[in-house]
Symmetry: C2
Subunit: 335 residues, 2 copies
């Protein structure tokens, strides 16, 4: 066999095909994937999804793995999986996998992994920052100062102290636990609701969200989105939280009944909200724009340059594990 | 002696006179003072300060105590003390006493007390909130969302992770220590500078602010303002902090050389700032208004309804201690 040196040109390695469904990938991440895989990039293809998948399935080396954007625009459902039967592994660049039909994946033996805990501390930090912001009116004060009102208008509504607040966390997973740990340092009292009580934590457990809301000053939504947690914060829960209560949502928009939240805020039935997620992103209810007691960010709780590079490492680590038949690093459905 | 009942009218108790220099006092606080003291209210009088003090000094019951606003509009200096020789006690409603000439007070045997620690946790919380806000671009994201740009403009600069950041605290007093405790829960590394190292803390001590800045990602100004700490953050310190560095100031505006800070931010020589205080409040340098990496609040780090009622209790507790010859609760200069 002729060596590359002998033939006078570098031998092109045969890279495994990889389906890519992520619109914005930083240059370093893109290069790291390209070095290892033959990328079939959906968003770059400009094709409709069925045509794109059909083309990939018909190629000489049909892709065995896909990287899909977290919380995303593309749903990995039965139709998707039917279209590309070679698929054995789906990696989601988010922690949530509500856009992946796990049942259908499990049925077909398709492994699923997610971003694991790469975002957890950033999301927890963001949640705490938004809570301080709502309680202490930081963003409202920012607008006040930037509009030049300080020298003109003396009075300004007081904020509220964080210490001593009873914070009810919905979902005491990785992120919820990190939020709890941080808020303890501020002197908050931590309560929680989750599918089952956790033995290892000292926080008071509530069997349902309604009771949690009744006893809490602040509700933090930190659970995954699934059929049981869709609108887990509904009209009744907002009522139970009460007029001095504050909602922080860093889970998914649909964990909260957004129209009821708008109504409760408009009518002063709750005191404020810090929202990183919305039901119909990137649409935000226009009513929020005139509310000084609402702090909104555009689903950026995970967005730091540090988490971005951690995500790159986690993505490639999982892909390499899959292609070499080793255990996935951050499995959701390990097969 | 005729009893009030016998004379048919309530005997008006003779209340001790109290000088009051605070423009805005909530109704409950005002009522609590009025029940106990005959208030000589400078801002309500409309008089120039010398006339007001001369009138008070000439009254049959010249005031022995004064309540002055923290960080304030009225300076208790030699001229002030000369004008009202009956004065034996000054209470500042702020923690800082840079508006009170302690040397002149000490020389005349005038006791001084301040608000003690009533604001400490609120200020520490606010400092942490502003740091998260600057790192994670919360207020900038708020503007982005409120201006309707989310659906239109996809890309947005990434924030930075709080965990692992080296935070240099200038002044490890009550507030600085509470900031350190909170930031430890986020995984920050704490460094500090203060007049002398503190035995009881595990944080690395730096003998001067320049070295602290060189080793830190974030500088938090949490010291009192005095001649040694005026412009303690100057051009050299900003240079040492460097282009990825962030300044948080919840001390006094004049702790930072504001014009140098403006320049450093404009020229990208530091990365961002969170400022609750300014050199010439309520004036804020207009250059800040167009900077997305600056978070500004209008000296509200102490402003919560909880700290307000704690302040009322502390003020009255100190006044009652002074008038009954007991030790002050929160003395600065106890005589």
């Amino acid at each position: 066999m002729a060596s590359p040196a002998a033939s006078g040109e570098a031998e092109a390695p045969v890279l495994p095909a990889l389906l890519l469904f992520r619109r914005r990938l930083d240059a370093a991440f893109h290069a790291a994937l390209r070095r290892r895989y033959h990328l079939l990039d959906f968003f770059a293809s400009g094709e409709p999804l069925p045509a794109f998948l059909a083309g990939a399935a018909a190629s000489p080396d049909p892709p065995r793995a896909a990287v899909v954007v977290g919380g995303g625009a593309v749903r990995v459902d039965a139709a998707f999986l039917d279209a590309i039967p070679s698929l054995g592994f789906v990696f989601s660049t988010g922690a949530g996998v509500d856009h992946i039909d796990l049942h259908e994946c499990a049925r077909r033996g398709v492994a699923v992994a997610n971003s694991g805990t790469v975002y957890s501390t950033d999301v927890a930090d963001h949640a705490v920052g938004m809570l301080i912001d709502v309680l202490r009116r930081v963003s409202a004060a920012e607008r006040f100062v930037r509009s030049g009102l300080w020298p003109v208008q003396g009075d300004y509504p007081l904020g509220n102290k964080l210490g001593g607040k009873r914070v009810g966390i919905i979902g005491l997973g990785n992120i919820g636990s990190l939020i709890a740990k941080r808020l303890q340092a501020f002197g908050c009292v931590i309560y929680y609701n989750s599918r089952r009580p956790r033995d290892s934590v000292p926080y008071k457990y509530f069997l349902n969200v309604h009771d949690l809301a009744s006893e809490s000053d602040v509700l933090v939504v930190a659970c995954a989105l699934n059929k049981d947690t869709r609108h887990i914060v509904n009209k009744d829960v907002l009522e139970a939280l009460g007029k001095d209560g504050i909602i922080i949502n860093i889970g998914r928009g649909a964990n909260v009944d957004e129209m009821e939240l708008v109504r409760a805020l408009k009518e002063g039935r709750i005191a404020g909200a810090g929202l990183d997620v919305f039901e119909n992103e990137p649409k935000v209810p226009a009513e929020f724009f005139s509310m000084d007691n609402v702090v909104m960010t555009h689903h950026v709780a995970v967005f730091t340059s540090e988490s971005r590079s951690d995500l790159r490492d986690t993505t490639i680590g999982n892909l390499e594990a899959f292609f070499s038949g080793k255990p996935l690093l951050t499995p959701v459905l390990p097969w």
